[in-house]
Symmetry: C2
Amino acid sequence: MTAPTGRRRPAYDAASLLTVAVAEFNTRGYDATSMEDLSRAAGITKSSFYHHVSGKEELLKAALTRALDGLFGILSEPESLSGPALDRLRHIIYRQVEVLQSELPYVTLLLRVRGNTETERWALARRRAFDASIASLVAEAVADGEVRAGVEPSLAARLLSGTVNSISEWYRPGRPGSDALPGEVVRIVGEGIIPPA
Amino acid sequence: MTAPTGRRRPAYDAASLLTVAVAEFNTRGYDATSMEDLSRAAGITKSSFYHHVSGKEELLKAALTRALDGLFGILSEPESLSGPALDRLRHIIYRQVEVLQSELPYVTLLLRVRGNTETERWALARRRAFDASIASLVAEAVADGEVRAGVEPSLAARLLSGTVNSISEWYRPGRPGSDALPGEVVRIVGEGIIPPA
């Protein structure tokens, strides 16, 4: 991540502390990360750290908000709001992959939330609301005859988000093929991952 | 899980402690779970707990071994070893979903491993070896002309395991449709999650 190295104490602000904190949360897990761990990773004292933030839950909330804003932002894009349901779905999936790529640490953290704190339960509820929007679009596409009959909307929505979200487990920025990934994912959700010849 | 309730101290053995421990690891995260947490969840003293196991890493190793044995067992089934590559792939995916369903807490734990301890790094290496077998089968299916040309084997293998593994996030035993799930997943990896009509 962007944690500075070297001897001089860096001039930290809330944004750079967030970057450091998200990296720690993703490495250790949120529950296992202490304010001591965060101050050590940032290279500042615990009291300096508390000068910037009230505690680790504030950082968690800021990080999850960033991921959720990215995802919910997609739903209000023009291409998500009008046109055939299947085209809207494809647009949303394409953009979900793009948001995952550009906001990788934040989305990764969101996907690992367990629900042990109020902030985590809030984020889980927001994720469920996002998935419900997808399920409702799948249902619309099936009802309109754009998606093959027999596709069960809630299972399809779960597998769609599972497939997209799993990318956070291995994607690293700058890999060859990164630019093609959103389009490739849209292709495979319509044609299959291993379509017969 | 199967943790007994009620007042009498249960007669615990290593197997039931494993069940309790895996549930705790999945709820809190492995790093954040202490031997105190485990003894409390099991309803026995810490010293009784140490009578059965050397520490939490021993329980982690036993749990991950159970998940990995289930998955690697698939690769030596006759249907995984002979026949067209695409048929072998389909069999493996079908069985992966079945193993995930029957060994849900163990597979869930395996999928959440981060690599912070030697045991976790061992499990990650085994997971990578499993995924490499899948990638090699996809490559074979593409080379044999069974899978549409243009499918990139390592991306396909990653998305295959991502799709299957994501089921652990929402699957609960006894849901309606559980029996049909392995077949449904095999269908969607060949035809798409939202195949056009």
